[in-house]
């Protein structure tokens, strides 16, 4: 998993590419979420456009990020969710938890 961070106003956009499948990815993502919270960045948009591989463990990593953000009065939303990730979210009913967007501007506006 590779991570690229950029800012758009108050929103931090975390671009993830490669695979999102557990193992070291879980530690990397957990550390990243904690760093963002510590630096006061609590409006986080995860851009999944570059994710080629995901499994239930990868979705679990996103859930941990979501719950950690919410416990710290922040929010975490998803951008560019592939059909495969959408299928996993739908089957597990996590589509009712995560806000997902196809349009970056719309996603950023939703935080305000």
């Amino acid at each position: 998993m590779k991570v690229r961070i950029r800012e758009s106003g108050q929103v931090t956009i975390v671009g993830i590419s490669g695979k999102l499948m557990g193992g070291a990815d879980a530690d990397t993502f957990r550390d990243l979420v904690h760093q963002l919270i510590e630096s006061g960045k609590k409006k986080v948009l995860i851009d999944l456009a570059g994710v080629k591989w995901v499994n239930s463990t990868g979705v679990g990593i996103l859930i941990t990020g979501y719950t950690t953000m919410r416990r710290n009065k922040g929010d975490l939303k998803l951008l560019n969710v592939s059909n495969k990730i959408q299928s996993i979210l739908y089957v597990t009913k996590l589509n009712l938890i995560f806000e997902c967007f196809d349009d970056q501007d719309e996603a950023i506006a939703s935080f305000s």
């Binding site: 557990g22 193992g23 499994n55 679990g60 990593i61 859930i63 299928s87 996993i88 089957v91 996590l94």
Partner: protein
């Protein structure tokens, strides 16, 4: 007529690309599966493989994961075997956590496979390891939405 393809690879994520390619090739080639079916099969087979390498083989690269694809006229069957100590799947099957419970980071893999495939079976191998058998019918019997 039934045709089979066998893949055997060390317990490493890098080989899942090959598994997915074969999966796509087999399902696309028949023309009998919808795009949604193709997604279901791909997700479920990758899920079974990651379970095999993580929980079955405990990520030991000296232990292989074996995947057998069997294309039948009316369904695709995929067997995924590990050769490790494995885990107590019978106990796990009786206690599958609510997949929408956000307090659980893990434990959704088997639920996803059960929902996306038409059948899912587990078999303990004679010496050590476990085999998961996934089947998807070609009649468009997708159980889940797009």
């Amino acid at each position: 007529m039934t045709s089979s393809i066998v893949l055997e690879f060390p317990s490493s994520y890098e080989w899942l690309n090959l598994v997915d390619l074969v999966c796509c090739e087999l399902t696309c080639e028949t023309g009998n599966f919808s795009k949604a079916d193709l997604n279901d099969i791909s997700i479920s087979v990758i899920e079974a493989c990651t379970n095999a390498l993580e929980h079955g083989n405990m990520s030991n690269p000296e232990l292989n994961v074996r995947v057998v694809f069997r294309r039948h006229p009316d369904h695709l069957e995929v067997e995924v075997s590990d050769f490790g100590e494995g885990f107590d799947f019978e106990e796990f099957l009786q206690n599958i956590p609510d997949p929408s419970d956000i307090e659980h980071q893990r434990g959704r893999g088997i639920y996803i496979m059960k929902e996306m495939m038409d059948s899912l079976e587990f078999e303990k191998l004679p010496e050590r390891g476990m085999k998961v058998i996934l089947r998807k019918n070609t009649n468009g019997s997708r159980k889940t939405g797009d």
